[in-house]
Symmetry: C7
Subunit: 95 residues, 7 copies
């Protein structure tokens, strides 16, 4: 199944944070922080300005990004959790 | 009866999520999650920009879409539940 | 008495939902849902854009419409209840 | 004393709703609904658009209008209660 | 000390409401309503439009005005209470 | 250390209100009102309009100003308390 | 790992406030105030105006800045805490 975000939205799949502590202890799920790092799975056509002009997205498929804990909408598709948000709600690209 | 959404609204009919667990157990209604997947039943003429120009909708009848749990307004017409929202509140088209 | 809504407002008279259940039982008032279907009684001259230009309403007198439970302002005129809202708060026209 | 509303405001004097029930019983003040019908006493010069242009008001002195229960600001001048609101908060003109 | 309000603000000195009842009884302070009538003490240079153009204020020093109970910011200067608000928050000029 | 406010912000150092009552009694800190008078220590380059044009600030270093109790952000730099706010949140200049 | 903030965002690394009191006592973490001073680690391409034009950021890598206690989003990358906010939410540059 393919996802086509509307407008300037991006679909992000969270990248799990490290589940081992520095001392090598594997953390249970409840002790893990909500991930704020993810990979862009799909991007929309971009934002429409008041003039009707479309601004191309700056992010692309495969980009690694940071996002806030409360940004976007979480949605499960075929058992996989995604977070969909507007590109302007993404904090930063990382590489 | 035919529905003609106002402006850039779309009428969506929710697609029920799977009511069987992976182990084959049929879930009762109360154990099911609120569906976030639906089919577009009707679209409006599009959004009006401040210039008065109408922007054609990008979604069309029959499109499968994802939407947030709290997006739009639910309304029952002839016993059928619909969710009506602005196109920009739809998260993504799926195919 | 005639009503002339201001700007892009419309005056709607609610159409009572069916008060009989499928089994033919007449429901008391308290068991009825707040109606979300109505008939347009009057429309304003339309919305003014920032340029000062007036955009003609798309709805007209006699149109049947759907609206959200919390949309608009209810007002009683000569003992009759109306709901007055901006055209853009109407969800859809039905026919 | 004369009132000159600022911008696109209008000064409205509420018209008391009927204080007799259909059966002819005079209602005490506490049993009366807050009036939502009034007469326009004064209008401002109109709304200023972002361009600086003034849009003339559509309402005029003497117009009978409907307004929401929570619209505008109530103010007592020389013992008389007025409601002052922007013209766009008036719901409809009646005649 | 002279006050120069910023932008489209006006400085208002409240005019005390009558402290005698119609029957001639002098009311204690706690029984008086918060005044909503005042005199304009100073006006700013006016509102800046998005184009950068300044719109001259319509109110001037000495004007008597009405304002809402919760409008503006109260500030004490040399022991005197003033209310400073944007001109567009003033309800009406009175004369 | 020098402060360069961003955009149309101004840095204000509060001027303590008189700590003696008219009768000459020195008030303890807790009995003093939060000061609402201050001196402008630094100004930014000004506000950017939607056109990208910068509007020069009207306030300058050394100006005495009035501001609301809840305006701006308080920040301590090298042990000194400053309030930083947008110029449009300053109520008035005093001289 | 490199951070590329989206739009007009900046990535800031907090500069710890002094942990010694004037008397030379080292303060434990819980007694320290949340830092409001930081160093800019990375800046985005700038803010997009409604016309689609990009406005270059005024801050650059290495700038020391002040920010409000509740500004921006905190995010941990490789064990280091950063605060990411829009440039317009930064209060002032210091030098």
């Amino acid at each position: 199944m393919k996802l086509h975000p509307i407008d300037d939205r991006v679909v992000i799949k969270a990248l799990e944070s490290e589940t081992k502590t520095k001392g090598g202890i594997v953390l249970p799920d409840t002790a893990k922080e909500k991930p704020q790092r993810g990979e862009v799975i799909a991007v929309g056509r971009g934002k429409m300005l008041e003039s009707g002009k479309i601004v191309e997205p700056t992010l692309g498929k495969g980009d690694k990004v940071l996002f806030g804990k409360y940004a976007g909408t979480e949605i499960k598709v075929d058992g996989v959790e995604y977070t969909i948000m507007r590109e302007s709600d993404v904090l930063a690209k990382i590489d």
